[in-house]
Every structure is written in structure tokens, then in C-alpha cells.
């Protein structure tokens, strides 16, 4: 079986639709992961030993279990306890929450590297706690975590292919359906692979630009 250009052209619109779904899913997951991670990190560092322990347990639980198992769990087990959600919603929630756990570690590390003197200075100025967090500590932590966070969004984008397992029409799912329908797997999977690779480029550009501006700031 050799490469068939007309077939490739015929399935391309379908695959591009899958690209769009992948972008939407990645954006939604990232929103959950980035804000949820921040919330977890703040809870972990303000709520004393009990809060820290809860956060630790949650992170360790999510770390040791494959995403696929969590996806199946959400897809098959949640309806049994009365929670019915669309597959896309389950997928976005699972990926988002798992990566929120990962991102919280990044934020936590960034919060730890902020010199304690800054916090002391804010207290000395008798700033309200809300202002200390929202205007001083969090902006610093977010700025420090930026490269690692972009990297996690990139990982999230790559992992979004897993959502095909529960029937979310991401790019890989489109390729699989196209392959089923015509019994030709070469073109769909090759095109899907190439599209997945191409979609890395915006992230590479972002990271590169971030490094450039940061190098400029330090120079």
C-alpha cells in the first residue's frame, strides 16, 4: 500500500477539525490546571500542616496513576454514582485536575524561593493579607514559574491525545475514525502525527521569546 494523495486530501478537513477540538480542549485544560494549581499551592502554603498534608496526599495520588485509568474511571464509574457528564467535560476535568496537581508543585517551588524578607516587609508596611498575596507574592511566583508552566501546557497538549479513549473527537480520534472507515491507516495516522508535531511550533516560539525577553531583562 503506498501513499495516496487524493485520499489524504479527502480526510484532511476532518483532521483539521480534530486540530481545532484539540486546541479547544488544551485551552480548557490549561485554564483549569493553571488556576487550580495556583489555588492548591496557596492553600498548601497558608492552611497549616493539615492543609499541606491534604494537598500532599492529593498530589501523590494523582502522580502514581496513569491518566488513562483516571479517564476510564471518570467515564465508566462516575455515571454509576449518578454523575453524568459529556465525555469532553470528563476529559477536560481529569486532565485539568491532574495537571493542576503538577502545576501546584511549580507554584510551590516558586513561592519558596521568594525571600522571606519580602513577606516581612509587607507585614511591616501593615498591608492587608489579601493585598500581600494578590499584589506582591502571587505576581512574583507566577513570573518565576512561567517557563515551567508553559512546558506543562505543552505536555498537556500532547497528552490531550489520550482523550480519544473516551470518545472525545480530538485529532487522534479523527484519524482513527478515518482509518476505520476506509481500512487505510497510513495516511490518517501519518497526517495526524505531522499535525501534532507542527502544533508544537507555537509553543517553541513562545518559550524562545520568553527566554529572549528574560535574557534581555537580565543583561
Amino acid at each position: 500500500m503506498s501513499w495516496d494523495w487524493s485520499y489524504a486530501a479527502q480526510i484532511l478537513p476532518d483532521l483539521l477539525w480534530g486540530v481545532w477540538v484539540t486546541v479547544v480542549v488544551t485551552t480548557a485544560c490549561s485554564a483549569i490546571a493553571l488556576t487550580g494549581g495556583l489555588a492548591i499551592a496557596v492553600i498548601g502554603s497558608t492552611c497549616g500542616p493539615a492543609g499541606r498534608l491534604c494537598v500532599r496526599v492529593m498530589i501523590e495520588l494523582f502522580r502514581g496513576v496513569p491518566i488513562l485509568v483516571l479517564l476510564y474511571f471518570g467515564f465508566y464509574a462516575l455515571p454509576q454514582i449518578g454523575v453524568t457528564l459529556a465525555p469532553a467535560a470528563i476529559g477536560i476535568l481529569v486532565l485539568g485536575v491532574v495537571y493542576a496537581a503538577y502545576c501546584s508543585e511549580v507554584y510551590r517551588g516558586a513561592l519558596m524561593t521568594i525571600p522571606p524578607g519580602i513577606h516581612d516587609a509587607c507585614v511591616a508596611l501593615s498591608l492587608p493579607t489579601r493585598v500581600i498575596w494578590l499584589r506582591v507574592l502571587l505576581p512574583l511566583a507566577i513570573q518565576k514559574s512561567m517557563p515551567a508552566l508553559i512546558n506543562y501546557v505543552l505536555v498537556l497538549y500532547r497528552q490531550s491525545a489520550f482523550l480519544f479513549a473516551i470518545g472525545v473527537p480530538v485529532l487522534l480520534a479523527r484519524a482513527q475514525i478515518a482509518g476505520y472507515q476506509s481500512f487505510r491507516y497510513l495516511e490518517p495516522y501519518t497526517l495526524a502525527g505531522l499535525l501534532y508535531l507542527l502544533m508544537n511550533l507555537p509553543f517553541v516560539y513562545l518559550l524562545h521569546r520568553y527566554r529572549m525577553t528574560n535574557a534581555g531583562a537580565h543583561a
Binding site: M1, W3, L61, R63, G64, V65, P66, I67, L68, V69, L70, Y72, F73, Y76, A77, Q80, I81, R158, Q159, A161, F162, A165, L172, A175, Q176, G179, R184, Y185, L186, P188, Y189, T190, A192, G193, Y196, L197, N200
Partner: protein
């Protein structure tokens, strides 16, 4: 209520064994690929460095799942002379290559962290480059590489869950069958999640043990021992001049 699941527990354990074997072989394969690619990325020749870097970026560019599907379904169509892949072998090959691409970054960082003077000294002593790498640089770099590789190995254990898609009967594959027979969805997936979790824990504990046996770490521990002795108790001047005990 859960008795139906326990009836199938031996089958799930069989699946767990398959998962463990796939994970073990992929970790070993990924370690080999990481060292190869990591060394090539530090090569003195520009084009070798560029080619290795390109391969790493290519392999990291999409998830292992996409590569597994491509290798299993598309590659045989592209190269008809190739014998049909065994799903087991295709899985391990893909996981080793993708894992190795991620690992090569760890190896490269570890090699670069070894002070430059070490390789200069090797050259001054007349060691060939590969001798210097294998006998001097790599053993020292390992104490940097192994901790990083440990978390990659845990990731690889989790990535093995994708092999169920090409028909390898790993623990997730078995769990899905048990689910469709017993309908005890929650119980089945809780058990599987727990099994994966324990497997990941075992892998990280193993790597902690490996870390302790590394030559540089052993040497560091040994060098720390005698110097600690004089600090205790009497002032230094009153210590007898015995450094080894």
C-alpha cells in the same frame, strides 16, 4: 458486592505481570537510548549534535500514544517488506524511544555537570575519548542522572497503560474486560489505580536504592566519614593524629 471482582483477581494479577514486564523492558530500553542520544548530543561534531537534537525534538513532539498508533498501524503499510510487528515489541520499542528522548536531556545535563577538568585530565593521561567517557565521566555523571531518571521511570510505568490499545493484555486491558463482564466499574478501576500506584512506588524505591550504590555517592559517603570524627568532643589540637579507624 465485590466478590465478582475478586473472582477475576488472578487475571488482573496476570495483567499486572505483563505491565511490569513492559515497564521493566521499556525502562531498560529508555536508559540505553538516553545514554546514546545524550552522549551524541554532547558530541564534538556539529552535525552529529544537530542530528541527535533533531531526533530528540521529533520524538518528544507528540505523545507516545500517537507514535504507537503510527508504528503499529501506519508503518507496516509504508514499508511492506517489514514483518508485521508484534504488539508487545512495538510497544516496548516506542516507549523506549520516546522515554529515551526525554532521558537524553537528563543524561546531557549530567554529563555537562561533570567538571571540565576531568575530561582534560583524561586526555592528559592519554585515555581515548570512549575510555574517558565510560570509565571516568559517566560514572561521575550518574549521581546526577539517576535521580532525574527515576522520575522518568515512574512516568514510563504510567505510559505503559497505552499498550492496551494495540492489544497487549496489560492490567488496564484485563481491567476493561473484567469491567465489561462484572459491571463493577468503581471497584475494578480503584483496584487498578492502587496497583499502578504501588508499582510506581516500587520503581521509585528501587531507584533510591540504586542511587545509594553509585560510585560517586559511595565515594562521597566514604570521604565524609573520617572527617566527621575529629569534630566531635575534644578540640582538634587534642585529637590524636589518626584519621582512619
Amino acid at each position: 458486592m465485590m466478590t465478582a471482582v475478586f473472582e477475576y483477581f488472578p487475571a488482573i494479577l496476570d495483567g499486572l505481570l505483563t505491565t511490569a514486564i513492559v515497564a521493566l523492558l521499556s525502562i531498560i530500553g529508555a536508559a540505553i537510548v538516553s545514554v546514546l542520544l545524550g552522549v551524541l548530543r554532547n558530541s564534538g561534531q556539529m552535525h552529529v549534535r544537530a542530528a541527535a537534537g533533531g531526533a530528540v525534538e521529533l520524538l518528544r513532539g507528540a505523545s507516545a500514544l500517537v507514535y504507537l498508533f503510527w508504528a503499529y498501524y501506519a508503518l507496516p503499510a509504508l514499508v511492506p517488506e517489514l514483518p508485521r510487528f508484534d504488539p508487545f515489541i512495538a510497544s516496548i520499542a516506542v516507549l523506549s524511544l520516546v522515554g529515551g528522548a526525554y532521558g537524553s536531556e537528563i543524561v546531557r545535563g549530567g554529563l555537562q555537570a561533570v567538571p571540565r577538568g576531568q575530561s582534560d585530565a583524561c586526555r592528559a593521561l592519554g585515555l581515548r575519548p570512549h575510555q574517558a567517557l565510560i570509565r571516568v565521566i559517566l560514572p561521575q555523571a550518574l549521581s546526577q542522572i539517576v535521580p532525574g531518571f527515576a522520575s522518568l521511570a515512574v512516568d514510563l510505568v504510567k505510559w505503559t497503560s497505552i499498550v492496551s490499545f494495540v492489544g497487549v493484555q496489560d492490567v488496564l486491558y484485563v481491567a476493561n474486560s473484567v469491567r465489561s463482564i462484572t459491571y463493577e466499574t468503581t471497584a475494578v478501576f480503584l483496584i487498578v489505580a492502587a496497583l499502578y500506584w504501588v508499582l510506581c512506588l516500587l520503581v521509585s524505591l528501587t531507584f533510591l536504592a540504586i542511587e545509594r550504590t553509585l560510585p560517586l555517592n559511595r565515594a562521597l559517603r566514604a570521604s565524609r566519614r573520617p572527617t566527621e570524627l575529629p569534630l566531635k568532643g575534644r578540640p582538634l589540637s587534642a585529637q590524636p593524629l589518626v584519621l582512619q579507624e
